[in-house]
């Protein structure tokens, strides 16, 4: 019996051939094709599996995006579930760095004391992501590798100039400028192991109020009461998040940021490549909103930036 027929029977209240089961019972309407399941228990096993099974194998972290994609027909022969790979979990502090395991959930991230000490704004910002079920299940690694420009982890870590460590010993630096670098996913056979966030005196602000049109992540490196460097990452507005360095020259006192906010925001907005134009907003609107949000953030930073 087809899905359509079953649903029709149910809505019409006609008994269908599955005798003994209540009419209210019906299955998910979006079917997921069959796949072979692999559940490795170590990083080595997971890596070997992904290498040997590619290209039609996929790694599953929290599964928030993946299950949706499978429901919409993404073909997968082999699914490698990473939930029992201990090396992918955990948040650790060193004197110079905060490392966050790729399978750290948003919930764990927002509640971590180590994260709160290193980047206090994450505790509040991450609480606004998605909803509680997504935060409990979704992972930072999955968020970044989902390749969705509206997602937040990548622009946040771009602004902070973080680095991604892969299980094969390679790294992807997020400290450059321009479009976010390509993050290779499990289809390459390499697993994202952890995110490394440098620890230094830093101010971070996020404005997600205009998602999915634009999100703006501002990071300022501070030395006493001076800003010595700044980066702004723009999410939602381009096919991949973009990051720009802010022109502070040899440094500027934080209290003077408000005086140059308009000039800097306009310069960044002008330097941007053409933003996306879609059913959410035109390219011109996105550019203008990015300029406004950055200007506001710089003005707020003049009052709030503290090492």
């Amino acid at each position: 019996m087809s899905d359509a027929s079953m649903i029709q029977h149910e809505f019409l209240g006609i008994a269908h051939p599955r005798a003994g089961q209540a009419l209210a019972v019906h299955r998910s309407r979006k079917r997921i094709a069959e796949f072979r399941l692999h559940q490795p228990t170590s990083l080595r096993e997971a890596s070997e599996l992904l290498c040997s099974l590619r290209p039609n194998a996929v790694a599953m972290a929290g599964g928030v995006d993946l299950v949706n994609r499978l429901k919409f027909g993404r073909p997968v022969d082999d699914l490698v579930h990473l939930g029992a790979v201990p090396e992918l979990f955990g948040i650790h502090e060193t004197p110079t760095m905060l490392t966050v395991g790729a399978l750290t959930t948003h919930w764990q991230f927002e509640r971590s004391e180590a994260v709160r000490r290193t980047v206090p704004v994450f505790a509040e910002t991450w609480r606004q992501l998605g909803n509680v079920r997504i935060r409990l299940k979704g992972t930072l690694g999955g968020n970044m590798l989902a390749d969705d420009p509206k997602y937040d982890a990548l622009p946040a870590f771009l602004a902070l100039g973080a680095r991604l460590a892969y299980a094969d010993g390679t790294y992807v630096s997020l400290s450059g400028e321009g479009p976010a670098p390509h993050l290779y996913g499990s289809e390459s056979g390499a697993l994202l192991l952890r995110i490394e966030i440098p620890r230094r005196a830093r101010y971070l602000a996020a404005d997600r109020s205009q998602r999915p049109i634009v999100s703006v992540w501002l990071a300022l490196d501070l030395q006493e009461d001076r800003v010595i460097a700044g980066r702004v990452a723009i999410g939602c507005a381009f096919a991949v998040p973009m990051v720009f360095s802010l022109p502070f020259g040899s440094g500027m006192r934080c209290v003077h940021l408000g005086e140059v906010a308009t000039e800097i925001a306009l310069a960044i907005a002008t330097a941007m490549p053409e933003p996306l134009s879609d059913n959410y907003a035109s390219a011109g609107y996105r550019r203008k909103i990015a300029e406004i949000l950055l200007r506001r953030q710089l003005i707020h930073a003049a009052a709030g930036a503290r090492p």
Partner: protein, 155 residues
């Protein structure tokens, strides 16, 4: 594959393919139809169940992910003697539902919230309920019901 889970306190042994979702297993195999399938893409929250106490979108969770874990559906919230939980009673008293389709998911979300925070403020309640969509009530009576439940538990 064979999967063993505890559902509403009872151990269940199920045979399923890896692509079986928790929602389908609950509804079809165990006939626990309080787990509703609304959007079928993890947004509406109608299929919310608790897995080891955490609110979980059953339509987007594979059955194999919950192997060995404890699942609570709306059918398992009331006591064995049929006594409604404080949250269920508060929903009745506040009239916090109309068609009722979203109610099981919302009640389970609120049960998880109150297990996590005994006395949540308005912002926390609304943030938490952002995971559940109700097209009928406009949410104010749902928020009211949560506050009633909080009051009853604190007393």
């Amino acid at each position: 594959m064979k999967i063993e889970i505890a559902v509403n306190g009872r151990r269940q042994r199920l045979r399923a393919l890896p692509n079986r979702t928790l929602a389908d297993a609950l509804r079809e195999d165990l006939l626990l139809t309080g787990c509703k399938i609304g959007c079928d893409q993890g947004v509406c929250g109608a299929c919310t169940v608790l897995v080891d106490g955490a609110p979980t979108t059953a339509c987007m969770t594979f059955l194999f992910e919950v192997a060995g874990r404890s699942v609570t559906t709306i059918e398992g919230v009331a006591g064995a003697d049929g006594q409604l939980s404080a949250v269920q009673s508060a929903f009745l008293r506040a009239g916090a539902f109309q068609c009722g389709f979203c109610t099981p998911g919302i009640i389970l979300s609120v049960e998880a919230l109150l297990a996590n925070e005994a006395d949540p403020d308005d912002a926390t309640i609304r943030n938490w309920l952002g995971a559940n969509i109700c097209r009928c009530t406009g949410y104010s009576m749902i928020v009211e019901a949560v506050k009633l439940a909080v009051g009853q538990r604190i007393r």
